[in-house]
Point group: C2
Chain length 147, copies 2
């Protein structure tokens, strides 16, 4: 799901044009592991495509979300983050620094399908967040207490 050809095919199959801007943005975001913001994606893409505008980034991220290759995660600070993994998994999120890490275990699949069965309908998506303070932030907090 990361090669240029695969991405072009995916856009065209859904009836959208495979423009160089879209391809570069898709390549960057689909291989990302840290749930980047639109701004972070824009900064990364600009290196390969300096004339690109932020509006194109936003449009393309929405398009990728629409065709199911991406999940947009809204937060209360009003800055969305983008997750190339749209299948059921847990996002472990630090409430202090915002770092997000995926937790995808076999056990979740089983437990999840059981809940879906109970619900009695087929969801079109899901979002499973667990909040904590990451090791680094916990260490920092401790240091600040000591000082």
């Amino acid at each position: 799901m990361e090669s240029k050809e695969r991405i072009m095919e995916e856009f065209r199959r859904k009836g959208f044009r495979a423009t160089p801007q879209r391809i570069v943005i898709a390549q960057i975001v689909l291989k990302s592991k840290d749930h980047p913001t639109a701004e972070q994606i824009y900064q990364a893409v600009k290196k390969k495509y300096p004339t690109l505008s932020p509006a194109t980034v936003y449009q393309t991220l929405h398009l990728l979300t629409e065709i199911g290759l991406l999940q947009e995660l809204g937060f209360s600070d009003r800055v969305s983050r983008y997750d190339p993994n749209a299948s059921p998994h847990i996002n472990i999120i630090c409430r202090n620094c915002g770092k997000i890490q995926d937790y995808q275990a076999e056990s979740i699949k089983g437990l999840w399908s059981q809940i879906i069965m109970e619900l009695g309908f087929k969801p079109i998506g899901q979002r499973l967040d667990i909040y904590r303070h990451c090791d680094q932030c916990q260490a920092n907090m401790h240091n600040n207490q000591v000082l």
Copy 2:
């Protein structure tokens, strides 16, 4: 967790003043069942307390979140919704109209404790969303197709 006295006690216990504004806002939001927005809470509170300002609503909602009586749910449309149920449960959310309905089943507790055990740390919160199109929206969509 809804009586005036209980709410006043809770504010004071955490070192905050129990002002009439805070009490009215807390009463409204803590008994809500439909995950209201700040604006909806403001409109409801204004009826009982007409001079109240939106800034006070925002501040109080943040305060209630901080002391653990409320959970703020951020969305990609940048409008947060507030959930008086901060314990592990599933929010069934309509992607079309935004309606949110709680699903709290015994089975979730089991799923939850098993995942916590696997993770090896104690979370400070969680968010479990399932997305769908609600019955009403599904009916509307169907009608529009037919017309």
